[in-house]
């Protein structure tokens, strides 16, 4: 029990810290790397929630795939610009106020909401359950997801094609 609490706190600190770094650092490339850390911490959080498969997907797809794409994009852009891309922030005060206000509101809701602190036992192995559901009940959505990915890829290629 104490181990899981400790894990949670460590992951929470890592997540919040890396998230802050993502939005605050002045180097775009560092920003991406911090995001990778944040996503990895999230994968850890998923582990604490007994979602091992999701954690793996998070690591592979998100922290792996996404970061690769972004890095590629940055490199391409940099080459096109030929100089370092400005990565500054503006109107920090306004953003701060809005973010803080929203957090306050959310926090108030979370605190007053009747949420349980106990974890009910899952009806079986989570990965197996998810697999069953995806390939039976949600197979249509699954197929559509494939179509969506294909469409996104084709259109990304179309948008980013070299100029004629």
């Amino acid at each position: 029990m104490t181990l899981s609490i400790l894990a949670f706190w460590c992951l929470a600190v890592a997540l919040v810290g890396s998230a802050l770094a993502v939005v605050l650092t002045r180097n775009l490339f560092h920003s991406v790397l911090w995001l990778a850390l944040a996503l990895t911490s999230t994968a850890g959080l998923f582990l604490t929630l007994d979602a091992e498969f999701l954690a793996a997907v998070q690591l592979l797809l998100y922290a792996g795939g996404l970061i690769t794409i972004v890095v590629f994009a940055i490199v391409v852009t940099k080459r096109m610009v030929g100089e370092r891309i400005a990565h500054t922030s503006r109107r920090i005060g306004g953003g701060l106020v809005v973010a803080a206000a929203l957090f306050a509101a959310l926090f108030r809701v979370i605190r007053t909401a009747p949420v349980s602190a106990i974890r009910p036992p899952m009806p079986g192995d989570i990965t197996k359950l998810m697999g069953d559901a995806i390939l039976t009940r949600y197979s249509l959505a699954f197929e559509l997801l494939a179509v969506l990915l294909l469409t996104a890829l084709v259109s990304a290629i179309y948008f980013a094609r070299p100029e004629d």
């Binding site: 609490i5 997540l15 919040v16 998230a19 802050l20 939005v23 775009l28 995001l35 996503l39 999230t42 959080l45 998923f46 929630l49 979602a51 999701l54 997907v57 797809l61 998100y62 996404l66 794409i69 972004v70 994009a73 852009t77 096109m80 610009v81 891309i85 400005a86 990565h87 500054t88 503006r90 920090i92 306004g94 953003g95 809005v98 973010a99 929203l102 957090f103 959310l106 926090f107 909401a113 949420v115 349980s116 602190a117 106990i118 009910p120 899952m122 009806p123 989570i126 359950l129 998810m130 559901a133 997801l145 990915l149 996104a152 890829l153 259109s155 990304a156 179309y158 948008f159 980013a160």
Partner: protein, 99 residues
């Protein structure tokens, strides 16, 4: 740890993401901040799913992750296209809708 701890953590990450979205000048930076916000949502979904003892939220998270990846790929393509036509990637210099 209870559900509310996870929710609070997700809320914090969400707000940080929001802060980044509204303050970053670079469009790529905005995209990264959006990823943070989505990530926070994913945490929420998984946490609810676990504390309610069913897999629905997790399946949804799976879909969300896939769609997010597609979205990022598309978004970056748009950024590159934008850069080609407008010679800038700074969001505050793109104001075609200015009234």
């Amino acid at each position: 740890m209870g559900l509310s701890s996870y929710l609070t953590l997700a809320a914090i990450v969400f707000c940080i993401g929001l802060f980044g979205v509204v303050t970053r000048r670079n469009t790529v930076g905005i995209l990264l901040s959006v990823e943070l916000m989505l990530n926070a949502v994913n945490i929420n979904l998984v946490a609810f799913s676990r504390f309610h003892g069913q897999t629905l939220g997790m399946i949804f998270t799976l879909f969300a992750i896939c769609i997010t990846v597609a979205e990022v790929a598309l978004g970056l393509a748009l950024v590159i296209l934008l850069f080609r036509t407008r010679r800038t990637v700074l969001a505050d210099e793109i104001d075609l809708l200015k009234g």
